[in-house]
């Protein structure tokens, strides 16, 4: 039964959260709390912190995550295909050849446009 399957997952999630939160509760009860303002400064190798941590970052990070999202979406179609394609034989293979071929074109395009270069 489907819902029973996922009941187990739900229980696993709840119990997992509880198990992970338990040591935090123990820490809250046991661990010392010494009010020393220096402790709570941002760590910057011992130097007094300067400037904002939230600075400007490289646009590369965005390009990589963009290509990732597009290819991750492709996976949506590959999973169902992978478990039924046997029944359809060559037809299913050619369908997937077209699908993966188009996406490989996309990968080559991204590659040639330099979206996959870090430097």
């Amino acid at each position: 039964m489907l819902l029973v399957d996922w009941l187990y997952v739900g229980v696993f999630l709840v119990v997992g959260l509880a198990m992970a939160a338990l040591p935090l509760a123990v820490v809250w009860a046991l661990a010392p709390r010494l009010a020393q303002p220096q402790k709570r400064t941002t760590y910057e190798s011992g130097v007094v912190p300067f400037g904002q941590a939230w600075a400007q970052f490289n646009v590369r990070y965005y390009l990589f995550s963009l290509v990732f999202v597009i290819f991750d979406v492709e996976v949506i179609y590959l999973y169902p295909w992978s478990i039924v394609f046997r029944q359809y034989g060559r037809y299913a293979f050619f369908v997937m050849l077209i699908f993966v071929g188009i996406l490989l074109l996309g990968l080559i395009h991204a590659w040639r446009k330099g979206a996959l270069e870090w430097t």
Partner: protein, 103 residues
């Protein structure tokens, strides 16, 4: 009272309206995109719910939901690329400040 179609429709209505509210009132383009994502999710709940309660003979609703997720990903990719581009050229991501077309 058992779980029926109406429950899901109410949930998706509320979610859709929250998304629409974000679209109408937010200044940040990324927040507007998040509102769009909420609205698409609301539509997806409806698709899957109708699939189960109204037309359970085929899986067209679920397949369509998958297509919507695909399009949502494309929309996020292109939309956020536009945000990045606007930020680079105009130094802002607030939609009411992106008004160079006015002149």
């Amino acid at each position: 009272m058992t779980l029926g179609l109406t429950h899901f429709l109410v949930l998706s209505t509320l979610l859709f309206c929250l998304g629409l509210f974000a679209m109408l009132t937010r200044r940040n383009a990324v927040a507007i995109l998040m509102g769009v994502e909420l609205m698409l999710n609301a539509a997806n709940i409806n698709l899957v719910a109708f699939n189960k309660y109204v037309a359970p003979g085929a899986l067209n609703g679920q397949v369509f939901a998958l297509v919507v997720i695909t399009l949502a990903a494309c929309e996020a990719g292109v939309g956020l690329a536009l945000v990045m581009s606007a930020y680079r050229n105009l130094e802002t991501v607030h939609v009411d400040e992106i008004n160079v077309m006015k002149w």
